[in-house]
Symmetry: C2
Subunit: 133 residues, 2 copies
Amino acid sequence: MAVQMQLRRIIISEIQDEQVIMLKEVEGDRTFPMMIGIFEASSIDRRVKRMVSPRPLTHDLINNTIEKMGGELRDILINEIREQTYYAVLRIMLDGEIVEVDCRPSDAIAVAVASGVPIYVAEDVLEEVCGGE
Amino acid sequence: MAVQMQLRRIIISEIQDEQVIMLKEVEGDRTFPMMIGIFEASSIDRRVKRMVSPRPLTHDLINNTIEKMGGELRDILINEIREQTYYAVLRIMLDGEIVEVDCRPSDAIAVAVASGVPIYVAEDVLEEVCGGE
């Protein structure tokens, strides 16, 4: 089971390396924070503010590569938490099958925001982070 | 005609946004500088210094996506300069054909360094930047 999430807030600090994004359930109230690097945070922030870049940025390049190779990014899934580290996959439809590519959640969310696909979190990850409902 | 280049030097400045990388012909002496952002410069620098990351970084993710989708990154090509802006493509072998994906040269070089594929510059770009031989 996976739960669809949305980006609730991005907190960018000039004085810390780690930035914070808050994800919130689309059909519920559970939220959780993720620490991410400044590059991914800026990339997400630019996108949310609809700042247009004249040239494809790094996370656009991932999506452009998928499309040029005949695939379609379906969604991203944060599928695991292990020793306080989150893991994620890009889920790509290719020739009628889903191909999963392992990545850091921060990259996954930046790619999702750049390409407008849904963000999912596995129910057991959400329960572990937020506790039961 | 494309000329193979190698990364000669990375100059990272803490006080400027734009960083400099120098490319040099593999079989010749022409060199040229490119201005790139701090994120791409850091990504290239980490790789050159063989700093290992426990998790795939953004430019690794591009290569992992290509491989998972059944392609093979062959090389990158800086193929155009227009109004002092460089353009580049990733060249991916997929089902026996080359697929080209447009990107910024800084991303292209970061991907090339991350995955160990050759860096090419079109001869006419090199001539425009360096003058004739």
